[in-house]
Symmetry: C2
Amino acid sequence: MTYCVGLLLDEGMVMLSDTRTNAGLDNIATYRKLFTFEEPGEKVIMIATAGSLSVTQTVLARLTEAIDDPEADEHTSIMKAPSMLAVAQLIGDTLADVRQDVAQKLDRMNQSASASLLVAGQRKDGAMRLFLVYPEGNFIEATPDTPYLQIGEHKYGKPILDRVIRSETRLEDAEKAVLLSMDSTLRSNLSVGMPLDLAVIERDGLCIARERRIEADDTAFQALSRAWSDALRDSFQKIEPI
Amino acid sequence: MTYCVGLLLDEGMVMLSDTRTNAGLDNIATYRKLFTFEEPGEKVIMIATAGSLSVTQTVLARLTEAIDDPEADEHTSIMKAPSMLAVAQLIGDTLADVRQDVAQKLDRMNQSASASLLVAGQRKDGAMRLFLVYPEGNFIEATPDTPYLQIGEHKYGKPILDRVIRSETRLEDAEKAVLLSMDSTLRSNLSVGMPLDLAVIERDGLCIARERRIEADDTAFQALSRAWSDALRDSFQKIEPI
């Protein structure tokens, strides 16, 4: 499995993903699930993936190939698409096509494969937008009422987001919140694993402001995780029993 | 859906359940899911249920009918079964039978119904034991390594249990922990709802030590929930960003 979360805040957008993939329980590997594309000053896009690796890798390969194609146009390349809505549509169509191709192969074995994506980005003179693209290619969008979207193992890390994330949350706090949301998921579910990939876009920055891989031995993340555990235990002890 | 959690601790056992049931999204009702049986000084049993109400109600009705039957023996009544293992087996067999009866009816409509149960109890001269009974009737048991078992919507409330519940956790803290675990679930999932039912057995007490229904307007639970939210937000603010 996977856990990815994306935030759409007044100050910018944050995306965090783990890197664990597994085929069955005994075949575990590390694959990047967070991808960034930018033309600084013009446009910036982040994509996070969850689901069957054979689907997500092919989707990303087709998107990248289309970007590099010298004959690419606004209907084929996410870097030429005229708006973030068009980007989400293009990615949704690609996902639906790939999923159908793979499904036809797997049907013969009575198996299925599926994937979903988070897509965040901004184009010059456009608004920041964050989408969750479903396996069928349709999508929903984050709004001020619901400023975060999750894919994969989303339940363990939802309570902390529900409590602290608002549109006006500062980016610094937002990065902390998604890391703590991931930390809760890592502790409770073995199918989500380190290292993590974190990327941040600042409003109207039109570039990737920060991108960071957090390895299992990252002392800053370990300190954050320990401080949160300690704080939770302290808070728990201080609360009056019912 | 449902969320129920059971703890097996050195000092005793705790069980907590919500009461929300739904048939589709627009037919929501309140039903008790936590049931207690005791013969003080001799034996005590708690059962929590999750899954299709038509299955769980029939299971409880059959178990209760067998207890009340004057001809009941150790093979039919959980109050006459010679050990907690035999109780779990009897309940597992009843669940498997009921599920199969219901499944035969539902198969014609291409529907399915399933349920799982938590069973906790102690008999005189026996150990306290906590079981999770699967829809098929087989079961697993809590141990000092894994002193809690959950059924239903278990993921939201797992991180807090993973952090604070150990075999040596005091009963007072344990009650607080399951209520906070439920609070996280209530906040993040509408299919779990108030009121709550809480029951506690103390080691070798051989009776229900405490049983309490916590209504939506329970001021003590509201205070606990608010204190925990405040503590989480305070802790969150105090933690250094990465």
